[in-house]
Amino acid sequence: MEKKTPLYDQHVALGGKIVPFAGYLLPVEYPTGVIAEHNAVREGCGLFDVSHMAELLFEGPGALASLNHIITNDLTGMAVGRVRYSAMCNENGGVVDDLIVYRVAENAYLAVVNAANHEKDAAHMRANLLPDTVMTDLSEQTAQVALQGPKAKEVLASLIPAELAPKKYYTFTPGKVNVGGVDCLISRTGYTGSFGYELYCAAEDGVKLWNLLLEAGKEYGLIPCGLGARDTLRLEAGMPLYGHEMTDDISPLEAGLEWAVKMDKPEFIGKQALLDKGTPARKRIGLKAIGRGIIREHQEVMKGDVQIGMTTSGTFCPYLKQSCAMALVENGSVELGDHVDVIVRGRKVEAEVTEYMFYKA
């Protein structure tokens, strides 16, 4: 039985097409449709309910050491008010999940993980805590919305004093910010590749915050956006999705996340396995279709007659108006600019190997 987020009734009232996703009932799109929602985020702004994401709080004098043991990135020296992206690995160097971590106080860190991995992550993290660390699952009591797009700045500025809005990417305003009577944690983060914020509040205030933002956004063309646009936006921006670009048996180095894997840390779960593996066997690449057709996930990538890998995600990117995909291929098998074929339902579609950040804001 799927759960409802605190905003479920709003989605239904707005005409959202509700689908089950990661254990929740969420809108895949509203009557505006995926393309309009996607382009609103690129050119104006959009509002997403991302309350399905799971929030885990780590507190205590051992919190930093525990997280540095569990995740691949290094939180040492990260100031309160900063956010960091990371992966976390199993002992074999495969990815358990990716996550972002907020340092919310001297000895307190908030980790946000994928809804689909909520139980698995909570169990993995709890099992690997070092002493003097308390982990609390805040997911049920937290609502989260993402305000994304170049106009997000004006929308937020119409609700809070300018100095309370986080300025730099991957920062947040320490403490809580009062948004029209709702206490929020506001960060300059997102999963779209466009400028934007993510706002967290108490579950019972979710509806109030959602309605405040929708109302404030009206004059800036803000529309509610569903999971469909969330996926096309992240793909167009080359952002990896767990279960696609990363899995239990894909290493973060293969997934192109080496910038978030600090091999110079004394130790973290999976480090030894990554060292033992040496040069990654596979590599994440971008593909842009040249031939007619839309490349989807789990399709074979061929160089001549030889299969070099499989696509991990693929769709029609609405802003670029092009079929783009990401693939995991044998390391060294292709260079940027090479042409490969992707087998799309039995038919070869020619594609060019590109960077996977197809869209850059």
């Binding site: 097409k17 895949v28 799109e29 449709g33 995926v34 393309i35 469909g228 996926d231 096309t232 007619r292 057709g293 839309i294 989807r296 769709t315 029609f316 609405p318 079929s323 339902r345």
Partner: protein
């Protein structure tokens, strides 16, 4: 849901407009275009290809998914709507104008539904 009474329908969500004794236009219904969402890619057969009642003659892709389209008749493709290849969104905008193929030499037709019957069949599916 818009289901014009002058057309016939297949359970697999195609509409058929008989344009002569053994010629027809085939397109996608309003119910189907709405449930697919934004259509971004259309694959059609070529003129001269044979189509068979109940079998796929092409496919449509929305942002999220691929769907086959099935021919409600057996015959030969006499024309394809090339405009759709460049502008698949025409199916979302006006699905009963956006015919996909014209078929001639029709020898067999599926048991087609009237508009009311089709609406009822969609109700069951939904």
């Amino acid at each position: 849901m818009n289901t014009p009474a002058n057309l016939k329908y297949s359970k697999s969500h195609e509409w058929v407009k008989m344009t002569g004794e053994n010629t027809a236009e085939i397109g996608l219904t309003d119910f189907a275009q709405d449930s697919m969402g934004d259509i971004v890619f259309v694959e059609l057969p070529e003129v001269g290809d044979a189509v068979t009642a109940g079998e796929s003659f092409g496919n449509l892709e929305s942002v999220k998914a691929v769907s086959d389209v099935f021919s409600p008749v057996t015959g030969v493709v006499t024309e394809i709507n090339e405009e759709l290849l460049d502008n698949p969104a025409l199916i979302n905008e006006s699905c009963y104008d956006a015919w996909m193929i014209r078929v001639g030499e029709i020898t067999e037709t599926e048991n087609l539904l009237t508009g009311d019957e089709y609406d009822a069949s969609c109700q069951e599916e939904a």
